[in-house]
Amino acid sequence: MSVEIEFEQGGLATEEMTLNMGPQHPSTHGVLRFIVKADGEVMRKATPDVGYLHRSIEKIAEKVGWHGFMPYTDRVDYVAAMACNQGWAMCAETLGGIEVPRRGEYCRIIAAELSRICSHLLAIGATGMDIGAVTPFTHALREREMINDLIEELCGARLTYNYMRIGGVAWDLPPGFRKKVARYLDHLEPCIHEINDLLSYGKIYTERLGGVAVVSPAMAMSYGLVGPNLRASGLKHDLRKDRPYSVYGDFEFDVPVGHGEMGGVGDCWDRYMMRIWEIFESVKILRQAVDKIPEGPVIAKVARTFKPPAGDVHVRVEAARGDMSWYCVSDGSEYPYRVHVRTGSFAAMSIIEELSKGLMIADLVAVIATFDIVAPEVDR
């Protein structure tokens, strides 16, 4: 909600206060910094200052080679690392013309959707915590912990998975994994309903998020928002549906969009609820995937010194924070010539400056949280 304050001429002299939110601040989810021009509690402007977490991941790719870059992709968006893995693998596969075995693709999708749920659970919990409700956070993390257990069985890691390889995935599903995933999904759905009961439809919560920081579809497009943030504004755009990569074409699922139940279409509440709705869609995909997964090899034969032909490629994957574009140029050598990643959090950061005008300081926290900004993804 925006608050307008009129200044009386000749009244009390007031001046804007410059507040430094971050780089160390409890609700900036990592190392973000906002320079807030505030008039009391009302913000005039919040300017994001990015770059605190720049680790030159894209530059590193030029030195470590095609296979060697895979673990680094985990660090692009460490909250949902599988999609980054997949983006990089698809880059190399498209350049080298490698066909991934069908079982490998299914393994990838199972892993990617699990990590999407993982990321969304964290986003839901963290939003609640930023609004002041701490209990849903621990409940969401409890569920996330179980996914971490599952993924640990899959690839040995709980956060930076490094599961995918060029040409497929590193390991086949462990024995009994499909059953465990199915059982977990049965368990997860009521848990999400519980979080809905506890948090999403609570009066204070909907008042805090409903109608706050409404992003119109035009604005969302002009700032290049992607993923759940874009769909919250009512635009039905999901790469898994619109240009199905991998084997997403095999699955039945919906693309939820925000419809402004609690205020305007594209408000904070819609963005928050997108994550909850998407979890249910991911559950649908996972159910079908563990059901339909074919037998066969999980990885294609790829040379140890992988040298794709010269050329460039642009690959898009639907990560937890939306359309993650990988642009990669190869000069035919065993090292990529140039890599660039375009991430959802970066677009979300850029819209905050315009969005923050007239919001209150407490709303900025809600905006950061509901855009689900992960600081390392902004800077890479």
Partner: protein
Amino acid sequence: MQAFIDGLIGDASGLQREIYYLVGMLGFGALVVFGFILPLAGVFSWLERRVWARMQSRIGPNRVGPFGALQWLADGLKNLLKEDVIPQAADPWLFRIAPYVVVTGFVAAWVAIPFAGPLIIADLNIGILYITAVTSLVVIGILMAGWSSNNKWSMLGGIRSATQIVSYEIPAGLALFPAVLLSGTLSMQGIIAAQGWQPWMWHMFHSPFALLAFLLFFTGLLAEGNRTPFDLPEAESELVAGFATEYSGMRSLLFFLAEWGNLYVIGALVTTLYMGGWQVPPFTENAVLLTLAQFATFVLKTFFWVFVAFWIRATLPRVRVDQLMSLCWKYMVPMALAAVLATATLMVVFPEGSAPLRYATFAIVVLAVLQFFRRVVFHLRRARGMGWTIAG
């Protein structure tokens, strides 16, 4: 209490008597503060963390002492040994004094809290007014802390706190009047004496309006005590730590001490005004036994409300500043006024009180509690259906 000291002093008179009196009162006050209030606030800090942890499916502090019950001692000791940092740009005097003002504000309220029939430090004839007055001292301390820290987050926290406490004092102050009207006295013991030990004889069940006043009173007190969902002055995710951002060591702890100690004051006020205080059925002639039973009743009732405050903190998100103000001025103040007027009208219409109204109100609350437990059972069943050990 006064009678007790009189007995000790014996037949001294004049200035000597006054000095004895002063020393005796101060000594007793110190005893209460160090022997009861500080440990109680400490225990609340542990209890809150444990209750909170249980609600969040965590474990909570369980290392120091049985079930971690001595955690507060360890925390206190740690904070005493820490460096007391005073920022260079801060106003050193105000910065140092602020925590003391806050603690004074809440400790002074204990003077008029009735723990049992004979157990009250001073049964002031304006008891409840006195408590409302001294607890307002807290806001001055918080404002001092926020201003003197010379930190923008602190200042925002201090100003939020000032607006909040000053605003919520009005609905809370209005909402205590139905109880005062029904008792015809401002004295804490008098208010309790006007209620019976049977639950339906409590002031909160006098009429639906008294019930409304009771709910408003509790909400207003939560807001005055900076408790969730009104914990804006120290909103962690927004203002880092609010007015306490620059404080370290024991000074920072004193703020939290005041917060947790205040919880007991909140519970005690609600219990005294609307929940029948220490009233117990007259089951024995033995004065000591009766006093003990009264004390236990009072503390249990108070702990219940403290638990409710913990519970609310674990459940609800935080409101925004403008919502806080609109809730207070648009809803709570008119409702509190209506409750006062309606109670006064009812007292004129039914000078002896209306038994049907009383039982109807009681029945409403009982039904609400039953419905609540039905929901609890429903959720427990659902949770059991989920099964907890899946992977690993």
